[in-house]
Symmetry: C2
Amino acid sequence: MTASIRPLRADAARNRASLLAAAEAEFAERGPDASVADIARRAGVGKGTVFRHFPTKDDLLAAVVLDRIDGLAELARRLGGASDAGAALLEFLDAAASRQQQLDLSFLRESGALNEQLAEARGRLFVEITALVERAQAAGAVRHDITGTDVILLMCAPSHVVSFVPQASPELWRRYLAIIFDGLGPNGARPLPQPPPDPVSGELHHPR
Amino acid sequence: MTASIRPLRADAARNRASLLAAAEAEFAERGPDASVADIARRAGVGKGTVFRHFPTKDDLLAAVVLDRIDGLAELARRLGGASDAGAALLEFLDAAASRQQQLDLSFLRESGALNEQLAEARGRLFVEITALVERAQAAGAVRHDITGTDVILLMCAPSHVVSFVPQASPELWRRYLAIIFDGLGPNGARPLPQPPPDPVSGELHHPR
DNA sequence: TGATAAACGGACCGCGCGGTCAACTTGTAG
DNA sequence: CTACAAGTTGACCGCGCGGTCCGTTTATCA
């Protein structure tokens, strides 16, 4: 389904690849408002070429983001086999925050054509994270009133928080991840004041 | 300094007030990218009038945001006298998150003309928050490796996290505030992996 | 009330954006 | 080698934005 009927021509495949790389870099540096023209220039192609490969800017963003989600889901899957379930969850959050440092949270944005693929990938990620969380709970490393959705939402926080401080150490996010992870631990005790939101079945959307 | 040499004409004062109200509402609903034209329409004035009162869109945003900061600083000051220092800090975070629900984090943005006022206000807020934190630490409610800057940064997180879930309960942010506050508590134990960032003396800036 | 400066309003400007298109180039199958 | 489909390109379009400007209205005060 992903592979089209006919294989791409050689130059087209090359352009598509460098386009994706350029888009990833540009979105990382400038955020989701990076301009298509800049991305095209960075990739060394004309603007028209961008729209030949991705009908819409959102589709391009979605493609970049799909990679990230798949990467995270794969990582979560591998960590599912770790012996220390608490450490596995922390390691996952660590990797997630570290990558979001570069790409912000934009992968939650909904997007036209690739929407189904994105939704599927998000679904897979959700499943893996939920498994990770449940194992961590069984191991006594995470409080029992936490859900996979909570973790998905909170894993975005450290990099966002850090994005406000101008010349932050590139590792500063670890400080806030540690605080939040402590908050997920069983030592906090007091019951949470609100029920968790519905799982990702309902679409997540992009914040302002 | 704030009051100009000559007092405002009656209609001008009225317009300025409704402009501020409209701007607050519009920024709350649409975020910092709300258009000046919409704000003007909402206030029932012409677009030119907006720019007469605020030379730049950023100045308008800064004015709105200055109110918020002053309000928060005042609240923090009052809470400084509370008997239960831990509860006081939590109450402050509660109020801050609740208001940010409406205005996002935009008050950290730097801005041209009002920059000094904003910086001053932010300084006052920082002082009050730091006092709150230190009292909470002395009371044993907050771990000792936390700074006022940490709290300033983290107080933005709950509303941001929640902004991703589409039809969130309006109180959902309390859930994540509770988790984060638990992370600030002394029960977590493990030392933080990174030193805190410099205090607000260095300018904070607006995230993408 | 009438003179005057202050305030108002909306047409207007330039800019950069996402997206389109038709002329042109190039990889490739036979 | 050739013919043709696939791919590329950048000028171009419409739009909405922040900001300007000047003819008009209006609060104020002698």
